[in-house]
Symmetry: C2
Subunit: 235 residues, 2 copies
DNA sequence: TTTCAGTCATGACTTATATCATTTTAATTT
DNA sequence: AAATTAAAATGATATAAGTCATGACTGAAA
């Protein structure tokens, strides 16, 4: 399943302004390049599992992944996505806990695995890197707090509208407004925190109201302002 | 409103194994002691407000506070509590964002305010302190992820049972099982993410089933195992 | 291209929980 | 201690959203 392709160098990532590696010096980048292991993961494969301990974290070189928790009856609650440039699995090693989510590949991915001891060394020796990592964790915590309030207080309708906008912001749209991620209705429901049929019905309503267009799994956002109003977002 | 009492030294806090200050050297503790400002906050007062920027964080010397987000119609969603030894408000300065919650005093509190530049200096110069801060943030993120799944998937009944157990773990019980925190039914509802009446009804049911005893605002947990079963917790 | 498994769509019905209204009780203020 | 305010309790009703069932459609595999 996993075979080794072109091994991307961390300079390539470091050049992307959104990654945590831009704070690193050349010898630090060299160390990571030496220590890391890159693998291809096929769509559908599990990278790490909730409840397991890992001894490193993953950097997404390409592809898209979902991170979810599994409830009592096996139903998923998607917590977050990871795409090119993002890191995954760092929370559990930093807190010394088991993974609190499962990471599953939505689109074929190339991931670099970096051992935790490398991460701890970097935290110890490069305070700018530490600061970047803290910022990233703190930002994610802010997102999670907002998510808690949304699920507790907003209607499913409001939440679906907001999730569609979030997907636009995270993955972009093409020129005709089509979201650049391919999700089943069930997966959408697992983000919103509702039943699949409820999502299907609301998508149908949004389509009738000319807010979106549907074409198979493709969703085009036609009226972003309208979706913002429905979602009760303050911007 | 705020007047200055006995100013607690940070050594006193550092001696408590649960605080982030145990990683600090004596000169660092001296710097904090020099920079900090301690104040008494009366029950009901607001320490910081969602959406505002603060230029420091708070250390709880005594008292209990709730941190909550406010929804569209002004309804609160309580995200977390802070008690003696905890820190608050650090997430927003670390992420460079505005505060994502409001902090309100539940029981008269003494708080020390520490300027953010002091925090940033410590992160820069003491990697053990950095690591402790990352761990704390990462742990809180794990809690938040779990909370998201609970609200999305568990019934109100299950969630209330779990919240009661969480309050026991956070604030302890006295010898007769009475939770050592005093919350209105509305506040319980704002943790669970439901209507006040629903909480009242379920508390009444739990009382009838001999799981808890009620005496005014006091709640005694009589059958912890029973509550665990109802909450569908895996331990 | 055909087959088949998985997903989407829809209708009917059920249920968990919210809202509304009112009375009672507890906590706080004077 | 009395008065006032806030909170708790309860009943009735409404509603958002979940579940179940079934047929249609899509995408992947052969």
């Amino acid at each position: 399943m996993k075979n080794t392709p072109h091994i991307p160098s961390c300079e390539e990532c470091a050049r992307h302004s959104g990654t945590i590696f831009r704070m690193l010096k050349n010898d630090e980048l060299d160390e990571i390049n030496y220590e890391k292991r890159c693998s291809v993961y096929k769509k559908g494969s599990i990278v790490f599992q909730e409840g397991n301990r890992t001894n490193g974290f993953f950097c997404v070189n390409s592809g898209i992944l979902k991170m979810y928790k599994t409830g009592i009856d096996g139903k998923e609650q998607i917590i977050r996505f990871a795409k090119k440039g993002d890191i995954m699995g760092y929370r559990s090693i930093l807190s010394g806990e088991a993974a609190c989510t499962t990471a599953k590949v939505l689109e074929d991915a190339v991931l670099c695995f970096i051992p935790s001891k490398t991460l701890f060394n970097l935290v110890k020796t490069n305070s700018e890197f530490s600061m970047e990592l803290i910022q990233r964790t703190a930002h994610e915590l802010g997102d999670a707090n907002k998510y808690i309030m949304n699920i507790a207080q907003k209607t499913v309708r409001e939440r679906l509208a907001e999730i569609l906008l979030l997907l636009k912001d995270t993955f972009d749209m093409d020129s005709s407004g089509v979201l650049q991620i391919n999700l089943t209705r069930e997966e959408l429901a697992n983000i919103v925190g509702t039943a699949t049929e409820s999502v299907i019905r609301l998508l149908s309503e949004f389509k009738q109201d000319k807010l979106i267009a549907l074409n198979g799994r493709k969703i085009a956002l036609l009226d972003v302002k309208g979706l913002e109003r429905i979602s009760s977002m303050y911007l």
